[in-house]
Point group: C2
Chain length 360, copies 2
């Protein structure tokens, strides 16, 4: 997302990166007392936190700045940066545990924590199954450490007690809801529950929108002393935008240009991921054909393109593209409340519009 | 452990159980909005928190009461109960993730979270591997939720800001150190690192003593406004007692009477767990014989008794029994500081002595 800077220089993502770096440097130094494996764990956790787009910190800082920043007298810029870092650490923790659950050992094109530890164990002569266990151990522990670090950062903010309580409520809720979404996601991929379209949308809202969009925006606004109407509007915007964003990701995961997105167009289909595209297709006459290939572990690139063509022909693609536009429009409409600064409304509207037509 | 009550009735473990029950009831009610699987997750997490001896809450309350309790003006009894509950939730979270790492599906004689979810999936026709994945997913998420709940409880304490910061430092340290110990434990059991006796003792201190003994005692003392000397003494006592306690568990795990302890005398040996007994035996002439059976997946009860006899004959048992007594003595000696109330010194000395000769 783009941050709009007007007038005096404001805090931005470089400050977030610096704070994250300081956090990991401090922990890595402490870890030296606990042996080389633990040092490696922290170094690997640090890598896991790098390379992301810093969407969540960007939302925290944008909301804080636009609504009044330090001038509101509730929190300092450093508090906002700490909160932004907390949401990024939370995100990294969720990715780490999500990868354990999915059995993934690669993230952003390189070995993740589990992959790095498993690879090291294998290089030291440990058999495959035990090497994988070592990788999972490291990833579970790294996720635990970062999950806790997020809460610890929020808990230490030197802000008025009601603000800290509100932020803790928000963090509790974000984690509570994300876990619910993750559980649903796995239950659908294991076919323990039937994934109809409303279920997939609810799962998306819980697993992604809450902690990635609604939470960071509300947190930044709270730190600038925003009132209930503004918080409610940002929460609703975040909820709707998060769904639009994830639906856009579902489209990219099947119809995207791999060169441009860096995202495989086969992995969602190979894993049998229950996306909105699939939920729609299930109710069409094309499903029996799609079903023969969907979730096949040996699916190759050409198979992926053929399945994409079927999902296009049966109307899934147009349907989901329509949903993205609807959710993005609804997100923009949710911003129409008094008290929300025009600069923030403009910025967030632009973000919402950027979700539409991301493939083109 | 025994709590000593003198004079006016004081808070105790029933209040801890009531607060834990209220926590789980509230979360379970919130979970009803997120589907039956999520309700089951919370119900299963609640079961995971039941049946323990509440050692950690007992330490928090004993230290708080003995050092001055509410009269110190730092915290209320309710704050102490919340802190006690936080350490119990932290403990449950660690058990849940430890079980995932160890691949265990039973805890305290009944299916744990992973076992319950895997069993349910299997009953619904899901194959073994995918059912196990469902169990792991549930246990990872339940652990995450309880780990976060522990931090959230501490963060919300209405105590002076320096006290809350000190408690957060303690919690950060407890989690940081426990993760280091868990990583070492797994690296030893996978034979990635060689486990010499000092390493096993250091691992024990990190994995168990810090969050189970030193942390709760220091937390209770902080809530009663204890000074640095008292905190240091309790921390050192906890560190030493935690090691004595775990060494006692290692003895029970091989030489105990299963009927009395409810603990298998084969599982440690079957799993190839690197305990102090094994670390000592490795350096004796009995090791080549022990090594042939140690870690054998098909080890039965009679094999276990034969291995126990070998560990006795080679001197491991006497050596570790001596270590328990030494650590327990050192723990008691650490309590000799001015400012520690006699009632607490007496109680903690009794706890330390109870670690010695637990088998008899």
């Amino acid at each position: 997302m783009t941050q709009i800077h007007q007038g005096a220089p404001r805090i931005g993502l470089p400050e977030v990166d610096a704070r994250l770096a300081a956090f990991f440097t401090e922990r890595s130094e402490q870890a030296t007392r606990y042996g080389s494996e633990y040092q490696r764990l922290w170094s690997s956790a640090r890598s896991a936190s790098e390379g992301g787009k810093r969407i969540r910190p960007g939302f925290v800082l944008s909301a804080f700045d636009a609504i009044g920043g330090e001038a509101s007298g509730v929190a300092t810029a450093a508090d906002a940066v700490d909160t932004a870092v907390a949401f990024e650490l939370l995100h990294t923790a969720f990715l780490l545990h999500d990868d354990v659950i999915d059995g993934d050992t690669v993230r952003r094109g390189r070995p993740n924590v589990a992959g790095e530890f498993a690879g090291d164990a294998a290089a030291r002569g440990i058999d495959g199954e035990r090497a994988a266990l070592w990788g999972e151990t490291a990833a579970i522990l790294a996720g635990d450490l970062l999950l806790h670090a997020a809460a610890s950062l929020i808990a230490r903010l030197d802000v008025p007690s009601p603000t800290r309580t509100a932020l803790l409520d928000l963090l509790d809720h974000s984690i509570f809801v994300t876990a619910a979404g993750e559980l649903s996601d796995v239950s659908y991929s294991l076919r323990l529950d039937e994934a109809r379209l409303p279920d997939v949308l609810a799962m998306t809202e819980r697993k992604t929108a809450a902690y990635s969009f609604a939470g960071p925006l509300a947190a930044g606004a709270m730190l600038a002393g925003a009132g209930g109407d503004v918080l409610a509007a940002l929460g609703e915007y975040g909820r709707l935008l998060g769904i639009a964003f994830q639906l856009g990701d579902d489209l990219l995961g099947v119809f995207g240009e791999e060169d441009a997105t860096g995202k495989s167009i086969v992995s969602d289909l190979r894993e049998g991921k229950e996306t909105s595209l699939i939920a729609y297709a299930r109710a069409t006459s094309a499903w029996p054909t799609i079903e023969q290939h969907f979730g096949r572990p040996d699916l190759d690139h050409d198979d992926g393109r053929r399945l994409a063509a079927l999902l296009d022909a049966c109307g899934s693609r147009a349907f989901v593209e329509g949903l993205v536009a609807e959710y993005a429009d609804a997100a923009v409409a949710a911003l129409a409340v008094p008290g929300l600064p025009l600069s923030l409304t403009d910025e967030l509207s632009a973000v919402a519009r950027s979700c539409v037509g991301r493939i083109a």
